[in-house]
C-alpha cells in the first residue's frame, strides 16, 4: 500500500472545495471527447450541475466527470495522459470522462510548464493525489449517508459499493455531498499492478477535433473587433532599427496603424526565458492577414549595426550583467572561431586518474572531431498570440510552453499587476522548446494596449524562422586510449559551442564517466549575438549523437561488438565505478541495450541492410535505437528503426510509442538535413524551400518501439529518444557508405571542416 500525504496540494484543494460549496453551474455543450468514436450516439449527456472536488476534477450529478489537464499541450498528448492518471486513482469509468485544458493558475497548480520531459514525472504524485482524494471524499459521503464505516466501502468504475449491506451508487449521486467535505490528510494510492486505466492505451481526447479541423489553436481565434498585427524585425543578427517611414504603407488597403515599440521596458530584469533577440520592432496593424502581409513587404525601413552592450538577466532573483557582442556573423566564421577556441586550453569539468599520462603511453589512440550547426525549431504553427488588453485586464491567448515565466514580463510591460493578466493556454502546433520563450505574448499585449482592441499577432513563416532562439552550433573533440588488449583505459571529451558548451549542467558525469579509469571532460564557448534556446533535449541532442558515434568507432578499433563494448563498460561502472556523481543507472542503461539487441535481432543482419546502434541517458530516461539503412540508387534510406526505452511506468503506451516514433523521425531529419546558416548576420534559410525538413519519403518505413516493463515512477519521454538517434544514424551510415560522418547534417552541403 502506498500512502501519500496530501499536504502538497492542500492549499489548492481547500481553496477549490470552498469555492465549490454550492455546486458550480456551468452550461455548455461538449462532445464526449474521451471516446474518439465518430458515432453520434456516443455524445455524452452533460450534467445539470457540476461539483468541484478539487482543482483537477468536477463531477456532475449524472456521473459525467470533467478532468482538467494542468499542463500546456504541444503534441506530447498530456491532454490524454494526465487525465488518465487522475481517472485511475479516482477509479473512474474512462467513457464518462470529459477533458478540458485547465486555466493557468499558479495557486491551483504546481508546474504548468511543458519542457524538460518533466510533465508526467513531476505531476505524477499531484495527479494521483487529486484522483485518490476525490475518491476518498466520495466514499466518505456515501459512508455518512449509508451510516457504515468508510473502510467498508469500495469503488469500481465510478461506482461506490458497500458489499455487506448491498448498497451501491454512482459517483454522481454523492458528488454534491463529497464537495462539501474537507479533503483527507493522507490518501491511499493504488498498487501499480492494480492499474486499470494507466498502461492501457487511450485514444487522443482531441483526436476528433483535430481530424475535423475544429478551432483549437490561437491562430484560429476570432473576436469581435479584432485586428491583425505583424511585426517587422531586423533582417539579421547584429542589427537594430534605425528608422522607418509609416507613410510608406499607411494608405495601403486595410492598414490601421504602424508604429515601433520595445518589447521589454529598459529597466526590466529579464529572466532566463525572456530572450530579447530584437529589442525594438515595428508593428503593422490592419484588418486582415493578407493586407498586413502586403504592407509588411512594402514598408520602408532602415537598420543599423548595434554596438556591444550589456543587459541585466534576473535568473530567479539572481541578477547578472550579460554582454552582447556587436558584429555581423557568418557560418564560415563560426567554424573557424570554434576551431580556434577548441585549440586553446579549456575549462576542466571532471578529471579521473591521469588521462594525459595514459594517452602518452597507450597502445592505440583514437581522436575525432564532430560538429553540428544551428537549428531552427520550425513548429508547423508559426508564432502567434491573441491579446485583448483593456484598462484593467489583459487576456492573452497563446501557444505557450511556459505561461508562468512570461506572466511577470507581460504585467510589467503593461503596467499591471500579475493578477490582472489572464493567460489562456491554447493547443500548440508544436513547440520543441521554442515556445518557452514567449516574447511574442508581450509583443501582442503591447500592440493590443496601444490599439485598445483585441489583436492577433501573426508571424510569417519567414519571421518565425529568422527570429533566432536557435539550437546552438557545437563542436566536440573526443579521444580514447586503448591498451594492448584493447581495453578502454582513457577517455577525453573537449566540447564547446556558440554561444554555449553542450557539456554544461552535469553532462560531464554521464556515461562513459565512471567506466574509465582515466577520464577528462573540458568545455569552452564562443560568444555570439545570435540568440539560442532550448531545442528538444538541449545539449544532449548534440552530445548523445556524437559520443555514441565516437564509441562506435572506438569499439571497432577495439575489435568489439558495439553493443557488447558498451555493456562491458556499464558492467565495469556498476561493479567498480570510477569517481563520484556518475549520472546514470548502469542496470537501466544496460537494460535498453539488451532489449534493443533482442528486439532488433542484432546478430542477424539481412544482406543489403546496414545497421547502427546507439543508446543514451538524459532527462531521467534511457533510450536505445538500432537503425537499418539501405542504399537505394546511392541514397541512404532508413528502412527500420527498433527502439527500446526505459521511462518507468508508461501511462498511455500507444501514445508513448507515437512520441518515440516522432523523436526518431525528427532526429533522422535533423541528422540528415537540419541546419541554419548565416551570412553577414542574415539567416540563409527563411522558409521550407531552403530549410530542408524530413518528409514522408525520407522517414523510416517502420518503427518498432519497446518499453522496459517496470514499476518505477514515470520519468520522461519527449526528449530521451531524440539524442541517440543521431548516433545510430551516423553509425548505420558508416556501414552503408564505408565512411565515418563527423559533421551534421550528413546529407546536405554545408561549410565543411576541411
Amino acid at each position: 500500500m502506498t500512502l501519500l500525504k496530501t499536504k502538497v496540494g492542500r492549499r489548492s484543494f481547500l481553496k477549490t472545495s470552498a469555492a465549490a460549496g454550492g455546486g458550480l453551474m456551468i452550461s455548455f455543450s461538449w462532445l464526449a471527447s474521451c471516446t474518439s468514436s465518430t458515432s453520434k450516439a456516443e455524445v455524452l449527456a452533460m450534467p445539470e450541475e457540476w461539483f468541484e472536488l478539487n482543482a483537477y476534477l468536477k463531477i456532475g450529478e449524472n456521473g459525467v466527470t470533467t478532468i482538467f489537464c494542468p499542463n500546456p499541450e504541444f503534441g506530447q498528448n498530456v491532454m490524454t495522459s494526465m487525465p488518465m492518471i487522475v481517472a485511475e486513482e479516482l477509479d473512474m469509468d474512462w467513457k464518462n470522462v470529459v477533458v478540458e485544458m485547465a486555466e493557468f493558475n499558479a495557486t491551483l497548480y504546481d508546474r504548468q510548464f511543458t519542457g524538460g520531459s518533466q510533465g508526467i514525472r513531476r505531476a505524477w504524485n499531484p495527479l494521483r493525489m487529486a484522483g485518490a482524494t476525490a475518491r476518498h471524499m466520495l466514499k466518505e459521503a456515501a459512508a455518512a449517508e449509508w451510516k457504515v464505516p468508510v473502510s467498508e466501502i469500495t469503488t469500481q468504475s465510478a461506482r461506490l459499493i458497500h458489499k455487506p449491506s448491498g448498497q451501491e451508487a454512482g459517483y454522481g449521486e454523492f458528488a454534491m455531498a463529497a464537495a462539501q467535505l474537507t479533503p483527507p490528510e493522507e490518501v491511499e494510492l493504488k498498487e501499480v499492478k492494480n492499474f486499470q486505466i494507466i498502461g492501457n492505451s487511450k485514444k487522443n481526447v482531441d483526436g476528433k477535433k483535430i481530424v475535423t479541423g475544429a478551432k483549437m489553436y490561437s491562430l484560429d481565434i476570432k473576436q469581435e473587433g479584432m485586428l491583425t498585427a505583424m511585426i517587422v524585425h531586423p533582417p539579421g543578427f547584429g542589427l537594430k532599427l534605425k528608422d522607418f517611414n509609416p507613410e510608406s504603407i499607411k494608405s495601403m488597403p486595410g492598414i490601421v496603424d504602424v508604429f515601433s515599440f520595445k518589447t521589454y521596458n529598459d529597466d526590466f530584469g529579464r529572466n532566463f526565458f525572456d530572450t530579447n533577440t530584437f529589442p525594438e520592432l515595428v508593428a503593422i496593424v490592419g484588418n486582415s492577414t493578407w493586407e498586413v502581409m502586403n504592407a509588411k513587404k512594402a514598408l520602408e525601413v532602415q537598420w543599423e549595426k548595434f554596438t556591444e552592450h550589456t543587459f541585466t538577466l534576473d535568473a530567479f532573483g539572481q541578477k547578472t550583467e550579460v554582454s552582447l557582442p556587436a558584429g555581423l556573423e557568418s557560418s564560415q566564421g563560426h567554424v573557424s572561431a570554434m576551431r580556434k577556441e577548441a585549440a586553446k586550453p579549456a575549462t576542466e569539468l571532471r578529471k579521473d586518474g591521469d588521462p594525459e599520462k595514459v594517452f602518452k603511453e597507450a597502445a592505440k589512440v583514437i581522436e575525432k572531431t564532430y560538429s553540428a550547426p544551428f537549428l531552427a525549431h520550425n513548429m508547423m504553427e508559426p508564432i502567434n498570440c491573441v491579446a485583448d488588453v483593456t484598462a484593467n485586464k489583459a487576456v492573452i491567448s497563446a501557444p505557450t510552453q511556459a505561461p508562468g515565466f512570461i506572466e511577470g514580463a507581460i504585467a510589467n510591460r503593461l503596467g499591471m499587476s500579475p493578477d490582472q493578466v489572464e493567460i489562456v493556454m491554447t493547443r500548440m502546433g508544436g513547440g520543441f522548446g521554442r515556445r518557452a520563450y514567449c516574447h511574442y505574448m508581450v509583443e501582442a499585449a503591447v500592440i493590443s494596449q496601444k490599439m485598445n482592441k483585441p489583436v492577433k499577432l501573426v508571424y510569417t513563416r519567414e519571421d518565425d524562422m529568422t527570429f533566432g532562439i536557435y539550437r546552438p552550433a557545437y563542436m566536440a573533440t573526443y579521444r580514447a586510449a586503448l591498451d594492448e588488449d584493447n581495453n578502454l583505459i582513457a577517455y577525453h571529451v573537449k566540447a564547446g559551442g556558440i554561444p554555449e558548451s553542450p557539456l554544461g549542467r552535469g553532462a560531464a558525469n554521464r556515461f562513459p564517466a565512471g567506466a574509465v579509469d582515466n577520464y577528462l571532460a573540458e568545455e569552452w564557448s564562443v560568444t555570439s549575438n545570435i540568440t539560442i534556446g532550448a531545442f528538444r533535449a538541449p545539449r544532449s541532442n548534440f552530445l548523445g549523437g556524437v559520443e555514441q558515434s565516437f564509441l562506435d568507432e572506438v569499439a571497432e578499433a577495439a575489435g568489439k561488438d558495439p553493443i557488447q563494448f558498451r555493456l562491458d563498460l556499464l558492467e565495469r561502472s556498476k561493479t567498480n565505478p570510477v569517481g563520484e556523481n556518475n549520472d546514470y543507472d548502469a542496470d537501466r542503461y544496460a537494460g535498453v541495450l539488451e532489449l534493443v539487441r533482442d528486439k532488433s535481432n542484432w546478430d542477424q543482419t539481412e544482406s543489403g541492410t546496414h545497421r547502427g546502434v546507439a543508446a543514451y541517458f538524459c532527462h531521467n530516461s534511457y533510450a536505445a535505437h538500432v537503425v537499418d539503412i539501405k542504399m537505394v540508387s546511392g541514397t541512404p534510406k532508413v528502412e527500420k528503426v527498433t527502439c527500446a526505452m526505459d521511462c518507468g511506468v508508461v501511462v498511455n503506451p500507444d501514445a508513448a510509442a507515437n512520441m518515440a516514433e516522432g523523436a526518431i523521425v525528427d532526429g533522422i531529419g535533423n541528422a540528415f538535413f537540419g541546419e541554419m546558416t548565416f551570412n553577414n548576420g542574415v539567416p540563409d534559410k527563411t522558409n521550407f524551400d531552403r530549410y530542408r525538413m524530413i518528409r514522408m519519403n525520407e522517414a523510416p518505413k517502420a518503427i518498432d518501439v519497446h518499453f522496459v516493463q517496470n514499476e518505477i515512477d514515470p520519468t520522461g519521454l519527449g526528449e530521451p529518444p531524440f539524442p541517440p538517434i543521431f548516433g545510430a544514424v551516423a553509425n548505420a551510415l558508416y556501414k552503408a557508405t564505408d565512411k565515418r560522418h563527423y559533421d551534421q547534417p550528413f546529407l546536405h552541403n554545408r561549410v565543411r571542416l576541411g
Binding site: F74, G75, G213, W290, E381, G430
Partner: protein, 151 residues
C-alpha cells in the same frame, strides 16, 4: 477590392476582397473556416491543402480571383460528422501529435485515394511528401492511408 461568389463545401459564399488574396486567407479571415492552416505561404508544407474540384491544392498560393465556379472543399466540408473513412482511419491509428498539419495531410490523402483507391507504398510516399509533419507522424499517416484505402 472585388466581389467573388465562391462554391465552398457545397454552399455559395460571397466575399469582397483584394483579387490577389490567396484562398487560404479568404477561408480563414473572411469565411471563418480555420481548419485550413497557414504553414509557409509558399506551397512547401501542405498545411493549407484544400480540394479544388476534388484535387489536392495548396490554398496559400491560389488567388481567389482564379477560383471562379470551381468547387472548393475544406476539412470542414469533407464529411458531415467527421466520419470520412480517412478521418476514421486517422483516429484508429491515433495519428496526430500536435495536430496542426493533419487537416492538410487528410486533404492530401483523400485526394490521393479518390484518384487511386489502392495506392502502393511508393505512390503514397510520392503523393504525401508535399505535406510536412514536424512531429514526425509519417509512419502512422502512411498506415492510416492504407487502412482507409481498404474501405
Amino acid at each position: 477590392m472585388a466581389k467573388f461568389n465562391l462554391n465552398i463545401n457545397g454552399k455559395g459564399m460571397e466575399v469582397d476582397v483584394d483579387p490577389q488574396t490567396p484562398m487560404l486567407w479568404v477561408l480563414r479571415d473572411h469565411l471563418n473556416l480555420t481548419g485550413t492552416k497557414y504553414g509557409c505561404g509558399i506551397a512547401q508544407c501542405g498545411a493549407c491543402t484544400v480540394h479544388l474540384n476534388g484535387t489536392a491544392t495548396r490554398s496559400c498560393m491560389l488567388p481567389v480571383s482564379t477560383v471562379g465556379n470551381n468547387e472548393i472543399t475544406t476539412i470542414e466540408g469533407l464529411s458531415e460528422n467527421g466520419d470520412h473513412p480517412v478521418q476514421q482511419a486517422w483516429l484508429e491509428h491515433d495519428v496526430p501529435q500536435c495536430g496542426y498539419c493533419q487537416a492538410g495531410q487528410i486533404m492530401s490523402a483523400t485526394s490521393l485515394l479518390k484518384s487511386n483507391p489502392s495506392p502502393s507504398d511508393e505512390q503514397i510516399e510520392a503523393s504525401m511528401s508535399g505535406n510536412i509533419c514536424r512531429c514526425g507522424t509519417y509512419v502512422r499517416i502512411k498506415a492510416a492511408v492504407k487502412t482507409a484505402s481498404k474501405r
